[in-house]
Amino acid sequence: METVKIKKITALWIVVVLLLFVVSIILGILMRLNQGEIIHHSPVTFYGNMTTHGLTMIGIWFVAGMAGVNYLMQRYVTVSLWPNMTGLIFTAIGVILLWVSTFIGDFHAGWTFLYPLPFKVMWASWATPMFLCSLTVMGVGWLIWSLGMVMQLLKRYSISQVFAWQHFGKNPKVETPPFVLISMITLVGVIASLLAAVVLLILYFMEFFSNSSFVNDALLMKNLTYFFGHTIANEMLYLGLAVLYELFSEVSGRPKWKTTWYIAVSWNLSLVFILTAFFHHLYMDFVQPEGLQIVGQLASYLASLPAAGVTVFSVIIAVYRTKIKWSLTNLLFFIGVAGWVVGGLGALIDATISNNFVLHNTLWVPAHFHTYNVMGNVLFSLAFFHWFAMQFANNNITERFAKTKLGLLILGGAGFLAVFYLGGAESIPRRYSNYPAEFPSAQVLAYVGAIFATVYLIAILFFFLNISKRCVKIMFSSSS
């Protein structure tokens, strides 16, 4: 019974995510068009859209990763429905609160809502508490969901097994599947980031209810904000990787990946690096203790080692001169890994303090993080969605238009990202609703970005129609 329900809820997640994705892309295109002076929104509308776009995107790709991991986890442990269901309900309420606060209440402090901006009310006065509540609801829901999943894993594996510590030695007696290891590592990171959000929100509410007699420390709040924001955005990518580890070899018709000592070591290390890399968001706050700045750069560098040396390398050797059953699923994974690498290169460059001095908060920042989302994580999740939808369709359906879809996706994505990078190199600031006259190329770049983003959107619409048609069928089918 439970498996059927989980199948249905996964199908529902997929439809919801794709639907919200389309809406958020449209908001993104509207922003680009406004920056290109093709349309003219008031700054309030622009920054409101920016806030909605940012938080919705983070939210949906996080839950997409969670839903995928939760679904596949059934292969290893007994999975119950309630954590997943809680996640769904809380996410739905959270998104509604968020959209009301931004679309109706005009809240526009950005998705990072950097303290004390939410308290300098430039919108309906109820919009700030509503936005904070929206985050609280989503945060609590996701926390319950992640804790529930950790519980399911620990019901089957002991602590040392779930972290694959027995693989550090020679000839381990039990094998921890890579999927289990990565899920656990990632969930721990997710929980830490959500707890950072909890601390942050408590401090916000304390100030809110004290009528400003209690005032927070801006530096502490910024640290907490990025502990939460950076870490969750990073971990959602690792959720996608867990799915990749599980499915890539399977759909390629190759033997399943096994946990080895270096996989175990590298993933355990990544946990440490991921939790300290967020300091790179505060490089330009010279008030931050210098030691933490350097930790930020080193952790950001080190985080790339296990990623490149283990995950990317594994994908490469799994493909190199190896006969593979290429399908849309593993093509999406493969291209996604390439996109992830490119975004990672952009990130490494920006994570170097002396470069950050001239890149921080220019378009270079959205350039690199959009790269490993738009061409990385989204593709990982799309691969899962596609695999999931195909699995329950009759198998002899050919993957029609696969080449066209991928072509549009790559073309649109690459063009959209390229102009961001160019903008960054031109020192154009990020988060500007309109560009000042000093940057004559900015408008053109924005316009070009909008056009390519539209191409990307068309590809996504293809995927959306194709996948959600099947998912809706799964949701309403009576039998398994």
Binding site: M151, K155, R156, S158, I191, V199, V215, D217, N223, V287
Partner: protein, 250 residues
């Protein structure tokens, strides 16, 4: 159309926000004044025989100047005490401290008494002094005590001013401050550059009449402990879940 509307709104906003809660109270900004200006070269009387100007003193070693008056019932003595304690924790001692009275009633004897009370009389690093040019000195370091007739007391800040060997003010500390801030002050008189510093907020400002040793101390760095909370709690949660699920694992 829309843009004009927004523009007017913005202008209104700029004016309104300037008056709204500035998180840094007045004193934080006072600290910024006079920095990199020359201190007034007042002639100081140190004891019956000796006198020297501030520049003369500074030439041998950079100075930290502290301003007090001996009849203070408020911040002066806790300030001096804490200052002394903090200095004891600091290893590098290549500077001198000059405690100057800003109360013209104070005599050299009064100051000697003060030094005695704090057990600093024989400490070569410390000098207690009075001066005839207190007004010029005070204004050159931006120190403005106000006489309160009713209470027969000065209303004033606790202040420590760093002066380098050229007589230039490199940094000021207003209010009771911890040893970390003091270290910044010392670094500044030694000519070292620290890329940033904290302005004292509402909670850590002291004047003579709101001294509260319980809530008073400014502890930067403590906030940074907050950053560790999420990681620690996550760890604990995993341990707890592990205990809860123990029975399921065969």
């Amino acid at each position: 159309m829309c843009k004009d509307y927004v523009f007017i709104f913005l202008i209104a906003l700029v004016f309104s926000t300037v008056n709204v809660t500035a998180q840094v109270t007045q004193n934080g900004w006072k600290e910024e004044r006079q920095v990199y200006q020359k201190v007034f070269d007042a002639k100081l009387d140190i004891d019956e025989q000796r006198s020297a100007t501030i520049l003369q003193l500074a030439q041998t070693k950079p100075l930290i100047i502290a301003m007090v008056f001996t009849r203070c019932t408020g911040v002066c003595s806790p300030f001096l005490l804490q200052f002394k304690e903090n200095l004891q924790m600091i290893e590098k001692k290549n500077f001198n401290v000059v405690v100057i009275s800003f109360d013209t009633r104070d005599s050299l004897k009064d100051m000697a008494m003060l030094a005695q009370i704090f057990d600093l009389k024989t400490n070569p690093q410390w000098t207690f002094a009075v001066t005839d040019a207190i007004d010029s000195l005070s204004s050159s370091i931006g120190f403005d005590p106000v006489w309160d007739e009713k209470r027969q007391q000065f209303e004033h800040d606790a202040i420590a001013v760093g002066v380098n060997t050229e007589g230039i003010i490199t940094k000021k500390l207003i209010g009771m401050r911890n040893s970390k801030d003091l270290e910044l002050l010392i670094k500044s008189i030694e000519g070292a550059f620290s890329p940033s510093y904290r302005l004292p907020g509402k909670s850590n400002l002291f004047s003579c009449f709101n001294y509260n040793p319980q809530t008073g101390r400014n502890m930067p760095g403590l906030g940074l402990l907050f950053i560790a909370i999420p990681a620690v709690v996550t760890f604990l949660l995993v341990v707890v879940i592990n205990l809860l699920t123990k029975n399921y694992r065969a």
